[in-house]
């Protein structure tokens, strides 16, 4: 019986520290070898740290939200065998199970599935249930870190994690604890027990009550205030949005586009075999065409260095709603992809982002971004630029609207584009020309595909 101290492993990508996002175990719990102990986040990637051994958690190295240096002590386990520390509490219950010596801590890919998220003008929401992190058996090998990013948004504290259940599906607690909880109006299913097998102890309930439990569900007036720590992905989104809005003087242009021709074309293509095409691949290809004439729009502005980097490649960022929050997976080299290739790649990266298995490469390096809320797309929006890019193309909702042909009103499929530009480096004139070009291309989609 010994204490095994586990340090935050080097999770690659040359990082020196990571934010502790969530504990996946609680003190007193028994964790099996390879089961995830904690989730940490670096830049955009959330990585679950698997346990190198089977043992009982006796100490946790900090609260979620804490920045931890690589090599800092993460957790202590009481294990069978010698461990690597002097035993602290000899009176703790012995663990059964196969003891494990300590192989090097390895990182494990976080795998998450999540509910629907809408990115595309007409994407169907795939409403898969999104349970909390479940380590996949195939990811459980102690292979070198396969780094992924996830949309894991966690409240961080133990509160968000449902209590383990017994065979009957009821929370595990002694009758006296259950009675006290009932008296206090606490639903024990909200607590995470620190006892063996996740049993909710008197202490757990005391702590919960001291921490201010939310009002009972049946309460007629709800004066409860829930504090949710802004950590992990949500904090990153908050920082990046604030920085973009603070730094960039946005100019937003809203233009109306007659979509009839493109919709007819899309309908014909969709009548053929193959994957159903959404609007976005057409728009991505139109952007490629438009920035050929205006390369200044497909660029990064490095204000500190005082330099604009124009790119030959068009890497289209696709703003995507994931269970954890907004992410921007990237379709690379749209200029070199055909329409259907663009569609396939778009589907692949957005699905990866939603499911939390997008790689770092798939989440960085965009040169211009498209944002679309699909059917929720409103009449106009004011997109925030994905810094350090200089332009973002917002897609609004398509609808049949009356269109004045010069002689009569015709019902036509109309859609607005709301595009924002970094006014420091893009003049209003250039912005307007770009938007007009997009309008022209989308209204006569043949122009997207013919050269000359």
């Amino acid at each position: 019986m010994g204490i095994l101290s586990i340090r935050l492993p080097d999770i690659g990508e040359g990082i020196a520290e990571a934010e502790l996002v969530e504990w996946l175990v609680a003190e007193g719990e028994v964790i099996r070898e390879d089961a995830p102990m904690a989730a940490v986040m670096t830049d955009k990637a959330t990585v679950e740290i698997p346990s190198p051994a089977t043992g009982k958690v006796v100490w946790l190295g900090g609260a979620p939200g804490r920045m931890m240096a690589v090599g800092a002590e993460l957790i202590r386990l009481e294990v069978e065998g010698p461990g690597n520390m002097k035993p602290a509490a000899p009176d703790t219950a012995p663990d059964a199970a196969k003891a494990a010596t300590d192989p090097p801590a390895a990182t494990k890919a976080a795998t998450k599935a999540g509910p629907e998220a809408d990115t595309e003008a007409d994407s169907e929401a795939d409403a898969g249930p999104g349970p909390a992190a479940e380590p996949r058996p195939d990811a459980a090998s102690r292979a070198p870190a396969r780094e992924t990013a996830t949309g894991k948004a966690s409240a961080g504290s133990g509160r968000a994690v449902p209590a383990p259940r017994g065979g009957s599906g009821r929370p595990l607690a002694a009758p006296s604890v259950r009675a006290r909880a009932r008296e206090a109006g606490v639903d024990l299913r909200q607590l995470r027990g620190t006892g063996p097998a996740g049993r909710i102890t008197r202490g757990d309930l005391d702590e919960w009550l001291a921490g201010g439990a939310p009002a009972p569900r049946s309460a007629p007036a709800d004066g409860a205030v829930e504090e949710i720590p802004v950590i992990g992905l949500r904090r990153r989104i908050a920082e990046r949005m604030a920085q973009a809005k603070r730094e960039i003087p946005h100019i937003t242009i809203v233009e109306e586009v007659d979509m009839q021709a493109l919709e007819d074309l899309r309908a014909r293509l969709n009548a053929e075999a193959g994957e159903r095409l959404t609007l976005l691949p057409f728009l991505m290809k139109a952007i490629v065409r438009a920035v050929q004439a205006q390369p200044g729009l497909n660029a990064h502005y490095d204000a500190e260095a005082g330099v604009i980097r124009r790119f030959g490649a068009v890497h289209a960022g696709i703003a995507t709603q994931t269970p954890g929050g907004l992410m921007v997976p990237v379709v690379r080299h749209v200029e070199a992809l055909g329409l259907r290739e663009s569609a396939a790649e778009l589907a692949r990266v957005t699905a990866a982002a939603r499911e939390g298995r997008a790689t770092r490469d798939e989440l960085t390096g965009s040169t211009i971004t498209v944002t679309s809320l699909g059917p929720l797309g409103a009449i106009a929006s004011t997109p925030i630029i994905n810094r350090p890019e200089v332009a973002i193309v917002g897609v609004n909702r398509m609808a049949v609207r009356p269109f004045w042909t010069g002689t009569a009103f015709e019902p036509r499929k109309m859609m607005n584009l709301s595009c924002s530009f970094d006014h420091r480096v893009i003049d209003g004139w250039d912005a307007a020309v770009f938007v007009q070009k997009l309008k022209t291309l989308l209204e006569a989609p043949a122009l997207i595909f013919v050269d000359g």
Binding site: A93, A96, P196, A197
Partner: protein, 461 residues
């Protein structure tokens, strides 16, 4: 018609009803409880208690009768039994207990009305008492009418065909007894009469006896029945009385008639939902049972139901727990049914006790389980009682060692129900039981050892 008003009216004074009444009285609720029989219901009057008395008497008789063949070196003359006296002794126990309950009710200031109640609506009932009808109005009504033996249409009770109640009132040991139904009631009584000298045949329609338990648990019971000379026909159907007064049965071998002086029909129990005006309330049903929610509320406001009338498992201790809860609810306490463990005990020989999930049930519930058992043949105390048949078994979740179920079979092991239920109700893990000192030499050590074995740390095997 005399009128009576109260806050709480309880229909039925069985274990559920009388516990509800006592607790309500303790909580200061003006309570009336009605039952045509002495308090205690089926359990005290014609069920649990008298059957255990008979089982005990039969076991004592059997021990003396077989002592000479045993290894203990005891010889005794051939015993005789005066079953009328046995029944008298048994009735004495019943009388003490029902009298005790009556005293407890009185002490709790509960008014006890003897008579048959008929509900008029959700707020009142009329009781046919010896002094004439009594109209009782109440704010809240608890239906605790219990259950009754199921009759087989081809074998109506009467004459040689008896129910469990009839079997407990016999004054002579029947020479030949046919038992229809190999559930716990039939086997408990059938075993007792076999020990008293009856030639017993058990007819069970299912493929094996005690179908609610797994085969591993019932195997020692089957072995003991065989040793006692009880003939067990499984996959057999009782068809009625034969011309010679025996029991006509159908098996895969064809039709047959079992010679029998008495035919005991124990094919189950059904909830009592008719005969007391329940129809007028038009309550929502759940199959043959009254539908109740987690607070034992029926579909009508102010009307609760507890005990066998509310469904399986039809066990006295479940009814008592429900009754206690409902009394609290009526007193305004914040309660709800959150019990994890309802032990079930079968007083066959050897006894079976089970709490929580069997290995199959746990697996069916999607659990990955570790199952371990410890045989009584390796338990010192069991050996000194001369009964080493049976074992204690634990079912635990593989991941976190939460104990999901405990079962045992063995002579006298029903007493382990207390320990088993504590383990389950308190959500203990294997290590909790393993870390608890169990007294030596007792049969309870088998529980300890079973848990140690589940942890791979067994000491005595």
């Amino acid at each position: 018609m005399t009128d009576l008003t109260c806050k709480l009216l309880i229909i039925g004074a069985g274990p559920g009803g009388y516990v509800c009444a006592i607790r309500a009285g303790q909580l200061g609720i003006d309570t009336v409880i009605v039952d045509p029989e002495p308090p205690g219901g089926t359990c005290l009057n014609v069920g649990c208690i008298p059957s255990k008395a008979l089982i005990h008497a039969a076991e004592e008789f059997h021990r003396v009768a077989t002592a000479a063949q045993g290894p203990l070196g005891i010889t005794a003359g051939a015993p005789a039994i005066d079953l009328a006296r046995t029944t008298g002794w048994k009735d004495g126990i019943v009388g003490r207990l029902t009298g005790g309950v009556a005293t407890l009710l009185k002490r709790a200031k509960v008014r006890h009305v003897t008579g048959r109640a008929t509900l008029r609506d959700g707020k009142s009932a009329v009781v046919a008492t010896a002094d004439g009808p009594l109209r009782i109005e109440a704010e809240t009504i608890v239906i605790a009418t219990g259950s009754a033996p199921v009759e087989v249409p081809s074998l109506p009770f009467g004459g040689s065909v008896i129910s469990s109640t009839g079997a407990l009132a016999l004054t002579e040991v029947p020479r030949r007894l046919a038992v229809v139904g190999g559930g716990y009631i039939g086997l408990e009584l059938g075993t007792a009469f076999a020990k008293l000298g009856s030639s017993v045949t058990v007819v069970e329609a299912a493929a094996r006896i005690l179908p609610q338990y797994d085969a591993e648990l019932t195997r020692p019971v089957s072995a003991r029945l065989e040793a006692l000379g009880v003939r067990v026909l499984t996959g057999a159907k009782a068809e009625g009385l034969g011309a010679a007064g025996g029991l006509r049965v159908w098996t895969t071998d064809g039709h047959d008639e079992i010679a029998a002086d008495r035919v005991l029909v124990t094919v189950g129990r059904r909830p009592v939902t008719a005969g007391f005006g329940l129809e007028s309330l038009d309550l929502a049903m759940d199959g043959p049972f009254l539908r109740v929610d987690e607070r034992c509320r029926t579909s009508m406001r102010g009307v609760y139901a507890i005990g066998d009338v509310t469904g399986e498992p039809m066990l006295a201790h479940r009814a008592m727990a429900q009754g206690e809860m409902v009394a609290g609810l009526v007193a305004g306490e914040r309660l709800g049914w959150d019990r994890r463990a309802i032990p079930s005990v079968c007083f066959t020989d050897p006894e079976i006790v089970s709490v929580g999930l069997s290995p199959e049930a746990a697996r069916a519930a999607g659990e990955t389980v570790e199952v371990a058992s410890f045989p009584l043949a390796a338990n010192g105390r069991a050996l000194t009682t001369g009964r080493e048949d049976g074992f204690v078994r634990v079912v635990a979740r593989a991941g976190d060692h939460l104990v999901l179920g405990l079962q045992a079979v063995g002579a006298g092991l029903s007493e382990l129900a207390a320990a088993f239920a504590l383990v389950l109700e308190n959500a203990l893990v294997l290590e909790d039981v393993a870390g608890t000192i169990h007294a030596h030499p007792t049969e309870g050590e088998a529980l300890h050892e079973a848990c140690l074995r589940a942890l791979g740390r067994g000491l005595h095997l």
